[in-house]
């Protein structure tokens, strides 16, 4: 898949006189992971339900551009038939999607989920694993994950994050919501912040990188500073660059073109998603 997988234009949703979503616009491209954050009642779940086709918008256009007719939806909480085994549950969804059960069983093995176990005997973390395997059945192009780590212990949270990362690496698009910002770290390529039915921010996540180089000339510095945002130390050998993860490779290539030696690149954890969220909230309050 390439191009825009999900396009939302001027989306509005109201229930009676209550306005839940007030003109949402955003695009989700292939390989992007959108972290939808916001307080409870901001409208995240409603937005996700509309994006997944479970609810109709009152106004606006939602376009899902995928090859497959199904998508990987993972609701906030889900309980499958207690009496069924994991295999039986997976078998139903494989048949509904018209795909082979084998891939789902292989996924179970990878995630250390016993397929012979009954659903009622699964721990909350294992239940989430089952949900995500069901969402992954048939390898949909678009994933909509509503608080996938809610109520999980740190170990299970990390496991779910690893699964989401592996989905992202396969080039799929993911819309993920959470109000636990730390859970979104290292997963999302973009952050979208919702507040009372509005998207107050929608932008790529920037990371801070420290690049250790040979001394730079004033000309080179000027040339690079026209293109990139970075701070430099007195000896012009340490650069603090804040940019998207994709952009850092371009920056390093440009350093090479300017005949500057690179001795090391370190990703700084200072500007993570939490920091950016707080910055945005601060900007808004000022």
């Amino acid at each position: 898949m390439s191009g825009k997988v999900l396009q939302i234009r001027n989306l509005r949703k109201s229930f009676g006189k209550t306005m839940i979503l007030q003109g949402i616009d955003f695009d989700l491209s292939a390989g992007e992971v959108y972290g939808l954050v916001g307080q409870n009642g901001a409208g995240k779940t409603t937005l996700m339900r509309i994006a997944s086709g479970l609810m109709k918008p009152s106004n606006g256009i939602v376009t899902v551009n995928t090859l497959k007719k199904y998508l990987g939806y993972m609701p906030q909480s889900c309980r499958f038939d207690d009496r069924s085994s994991v295999t039986k549950t997976l078998s139903i969804f494989s048949k509904l999607r018209g795909v082979d059960l084998k891939a789902s069983l292989e996924m179970c093995e990878r995630l250390e989920l016993d397929p012979s176990k009954r659903v009622k005997h699964l721990s909350p973390g294992q239940q989430k694993k089952l949900q995500i395997i069901i969402a992954m059945t048939g390898g949909p192009d678009l994933y909509i994950l509503d608080e996938p780590t809610a109520g999980l212990d740190p170990y299970a949270t990390n496991e779910i994050k690893q699964i989401i990362l592996s989905i992202q690496k396969s080039g799929k698009s993911i819309l993920i919501s959470s109000h636990i910002l730390a859970d979104m770290n290292n997963i999302c390529t973009h952050i979208a912040i919702m507040e009372i039915g509005r998207l107050i921010c929608n932008r790529p996540i920037k990371t801070s990188f420290i690049v250790k180089t040979s001394p730079m000339t004033a000309d080179n510095l000027l040339k690079l500073q026209n293109k990139y945002q970075f701070k430099v130390n007195e000896t012009a050998t340490l650069l603090d660059v804040t940019c998207e993860e994709k952009a850092i490779s371009m920056f390093i290539r440009e350093l090479g073109l300017c005949n500057i030696d690179i001795f090391g690149v370190t990703a700084s954890n200072v500007k993570n998603i939490v920091g950016q969220y707080m910055d945005l909230k601060g900007d808004k309050n000022q």
């Binding site: 229930f15 339900r49 997944s52 086709g53 479970l54 609810m55 109709k56 497959k68 007719k69 199904y70 998508l71 990987g72 939806y73 609701p75 906030q76 909480s77 889900c78 309980r79 499958f80 038939d81 009496r83 139903i92 969804f93 048949k95 509904l96 999607r97 018209g98 949900q131 069901i134 969402a135 059945t137 909509i144």
Partner: protein, 259 residues
């Protein structure tokens, strides 16, 4: 569509015809045998060669509504309550297909339930009389019983659609089962009729709303008018329940949000 559709039906049949349902219906069938053998039923059969309607269906009239509703009340509500319905709909299945599968499931399961109830009593009658001709009992009462079960099945599905949770659906089912119980329903109509000064004919016609009364009417082939009325009554009840259930099911997410 067809493969997914049959997959959904298969899943729903497994869900409805579970151990609990079998236990309830085998008990009901056992009660039927008990009433038949230890009441006038056996006496009438041996002495006069006749089969009394009440001796066959007394347990069904008393406990039937609850026994039927217990099979269907959470057919949709549990899937929605536990968000399984969302997962199914996101698997490329349309809401229309989901509802159709529930309808077809209720038709099939109702047939099975009718058989579970009627088969033991028919075999008992045959063993008492030593006459295979009594197989007609099964045939004669099969349609009325199936219609009776279908009415409550469609009502169960309607309740399952309307109720936001399985617990709410259970409470609604218990209430509906009680109100539609023939004795109770006829008492209600009798009381209302006295207050509103209805004639006896009006009361009799309104009493036909109770499926138990309808089933009794449907078992009497000799009275054509009542027989046809009861067929129309059953069909109308089932049709309206399914139509109402379908409309609510399709638009539900827009209507009862936040309840």
């Amino acid at each position: 569509m067809s493969n997914s559709f049959f997959q959904l039906i298969q899943r729903d049949i497994k869900k409805t015809l579970n151990f609990r349902a079998f236990l309830i219906w085998i008990s009901l069938s056992g009660l039927c045998l008990f009433f038949f053998i230890f009441s006038n039923g056996r006496y009438d059969l041996v002495e006069n060669g006749t089969i009394d309607f009440m001796s066959l269906f007394l347990p069904q009239i008393i406990f039937g509504p609850w026994a039927i509703l217990s099979v269907y009340y959470d057919l949709i509500s549990s899937d929605r309550e536990h968000n399984v319905l969302d997962c199914i709909l996101c698997s490329g299945i349309k809401k229309k297909t989901v509802f159709l599968s529930k309808m077809l499931t209720s038709l099939i399961v109702s047939l099975v339930l009718s058989l579970i109830y009627l088969l033991p009593i028919t075999l008992t009658i045959i063993s008492i009389t030593k006459e295979i001709n009594y197989i007609v009992v099964l045939i004669k009462y099969f349609l009325p019983l199936w219609g009776y079960i279908m009415v409550f099945s469609s009502l169960g599905i309607l309740i399952s659609v309307i109720a936001r949770s399985s617990k709410a659906a259970l409470i609604w089912s218990l209430a509906c089962g009680l109100i539609l119980m023939p004795r109770f329903f006829m008492l209600l109509i009798e009381g209302l009729g006295t207050i509103l000064r209805w004639s006896q004919t009006t009361k009799d016609w309104i009493s036909l709303i109770s499926p138990g009364v309808l089933m009794s009417a449907l078992s009497d082939f000799t009275n054509t008018e009542i027989f046809l009325t009861s067929i129309a009554g059953f069909s109308l009840f089932v049709f309206l329940s399914f139509i109402l259930g379908y409309v609510i099911f399709i638009n539900q997410d827009e209507w009862n949000y936040g309840e």
